[in-house]
């Protein structure tokens, strides 16, 4: 019996380890390249460990990488990105939570139709919206401003947050709301004192997904961002794909990794809560 148990466990672990290698390979390759001097990057194998270990690519990426005439590295772009991502995330989550509350607990036929349209609308690719958005932002006089980008990200974050919160709130027993109604609580009071306190788990899920979505956005950042305060992924792309000249692969990768750190850390730290949040009925039927 013990032998079979160990055999199965060994199989289990080896399957997991092989999968883990598949998942780790790219980041290993990238990290290793970012610590090599440029000639080593060109000449040695991508899985070879650096022989002349250097952190210069990282230093350059942080403070002196050039995007044409501005050689400030990617340091300044972090602030700009957070300035956009955080307000947009808060707004999108708040609106999504209220939407989910209404759609899940105050079943109106037309609310379901709205949800359906919202969901299907998510299949429309964002590129199509660039020109109409430009016109709209112009008319609202916020073209090229941070406010404009916040608005855009809020708008296109609402479908996701609505879906998350609606699915979650559906799993909460209707009795909760009914009891509160009988106690004389009003529409909004029920939301703030009954529903919200039960929601921290799904909030974390929403924060993780929405933040990384906005942070990793590239399309809107490039098209609508004010260039001096450009969101970071667009700035990184500028540094990385200089179409002329020698490509400094090691610095490019360092830049890309630095840019990816916030979302990475968010996932690493909040991963546990992410799972817990999902377990608390985000997906129960």
């Amino acid at each position: 019996m013990i032998r079979r148990y160990t055999y199965k466990t060994a199989l289990l672990y080896s399957a997991l380890v092989v999968s883990a290698l598949f998942f780790l390979a790219p980041i290993y390759v990238m990290l290793v390249a970012s610590f090599k001097p440029l000639n080593e990057v060109r000449e040695t194998s991508i899985i070879a460990f650096p022989q002349n270990w250097t952190i210069e690519p990282w230093l350059k990426a942080w403070s002196s990488a050039c995007s044409s005439l501005d050689c400030m590295g990617i340091k300044p772009f972090f602030l700009a990105t957070f300035e956009i991502a955080i307000p947009a995330m808060i707004l999108a989550i708040f609106i999504g939570a209220m939407n989910g509350y209404v759609m899940a607990k105050w079943r109106a036929k037309w609310a379901d139709v709205l949800f359906g349209l919202l969901l299907i609308g998510s299949f429309v690719p964002l590129q199509l919206f660039l020109i109409p958005l430009a016109v709209t932002l112009r008319e609202l006089n916020i073209y090229g401003t941070t406010t404009g980008l916040i608005l855009i990200h809020t708008i296109y974050g609402i479908p996701l947050t609505t879906m998350l919160f609606r699915n979650f709130y559906i799993t909460l027993p209707n009795e909760l709301v009914q009891a509160a109604v009988m106690d004389g609580a009003g529409f909004f009071k029920i939301f703030f004192s009954v529903i919200l306190p039960l929601s921290p788990a799904i909030f974390i899920v929403a924060v993780i997904l929405v933040f990384s979505g906005i942070y990793n956005d590239f399309l809107f950042a490039l098209t609508f961002g004010d260039t001096s305060k450009r969101p970071i992924m667009a700035a990184v792309q500028n540094i990385v794909s200089s179409s002329y000249g020698i490509k400094e692969h090691n610095m490019n990768i360092a830049a890309v990794v630095i840019a990816a750190l916030p979302t990475l850390l968010l996932f690493l730290v909040a991963g546990k809560f992410f799972v817990r949040g999902l377990m608390q009925g985000a997906v129960k039927g």
């Binding site: 790219p26 199509l128 109604v181």
Partner: protein
């Protein structure tokens, strides 16, 4: 529950979303559909020319390559993420130790933008410096893994990179679902001496229909948005063998200054996705209401 006062409040709450749905999403989508019938080239032009753009679109072999790639990629990506995700979730569920470690390893790729993903995989799959070269230097001279360079196989490399990025979330969804299933069911099954794998297959997984629905929806959104990863990994190449409609639309809209044709392609793409997803969605939502 829905008295007239609350009806008003409910409506008020939903107003921003109504604006989003009808103006920012469907309004724009309809505008794009309108553009597909116009003579728009560099900028939108509202002169209508009927179906000409569609005729040009259907005559373009490049479009058909991109269109069929959407199905190939879509099926493999959605199917692959679900199967791999479910499998990994089951494996993780069986673990007594090390769950956090493995779970983090499988989840972190999701935090990376698709641009980063494409870049990293481009390195690994490169025939002269990536896997092919490594295996060859290790001794197997005839080893071939130049899919990135092959017109027939390039699209599969995109599947690889996308799977790498997307499986983590699906795995977590399934894991959460599995863990939330009542312990009683487990105990009952063990008492009946049902083997472990059977329990998963016949009892646990069928209970996860909602998880499946959510997973399919999320993955479906990604397929349509597959633009980022294609651009970063192969840029549609070699030639246009790995092009996908999302990228085709962007190229015709902005790079080739043929907005009319790009709009037509977009309409085709969205309509196809909707036609595929709608029946499934309708079926599942109706089930929920029962």
């Amino acid at each position: 529950m829905l008295n007239s006062r609350n009806k008003v409040k409910a409506a008020l709450v939903l107003i921003p979303t109504v604006i989003v749905v009808f103006y920012f999403i469907w309004g724009f989508a309809v505008y794009t559909a309108f553009l597909s019938f116009t003579k728009s080239r560099f900028l939108p032009n509202h002169e209508i020319i009927g179906f000409d753009n569609y005729i040009l679109l259907f005559a373009n072999d490049r479009w058909w390559v991109a269109y069929s790639n959407m199905f190939i990629f879509g099926a493999l990506y959605i199917g692959g993420c679900i199967i791999l995700g479910a499998l990994l979730a089951v494996l993780l569920d069986r673990l007594t130790k090390g769950e956090t470690l493995f779970r983090t390893i499988f989840l972190y790729p999701m935090s990376l933008s698709l641009v980063v993903t494409g870049l990293a995989w481009q390195w690994i799959l490169n025939p002269t410096s990536g896997i092919q070269q490594i295996v060859r230097t290790a001794g197997w001279d005839e080893f071939n893994f130049n899919w990135v360079a092959s017109s027939d196989f390039a699209i599969y490399t995109i599947v690889f990179a996308a799977l790498w990025n997307g499986t983590g979330l699906i795995m977590i969804l399934f894991l959460a679902g599995i863990k939330s299933i009542d312990d009683e069911i487990w105990k009952a099954a063990r008492i009946d001496q049902i083997p472990v794998w059977r329990i998963y297959f016949n009892i646990i997984l069928p209970q996860l229909r909602t998880v499946l629905l959510t997973a399919v929806m999320l993955l479906g959104f990604q397929v349509v948005r597959s633009f980022d990863v294609v651009v970063a990994l192969t840029n549609g190449g070699p030639g246009y063998a790995s092009d996908v409609p999302a990228r085709y639309v962007f190229e015709y809209f902005f790079q080739r200054s043929k907005i009319g044709q790009g709009a037509a392609a977009a309409v085709m793409m969205v309509m196809t996705m909707i036609l595929i997803v709608l029946p499934y969605l309708y079926y599942e939502i109706r089930r929920k209401e029962i």
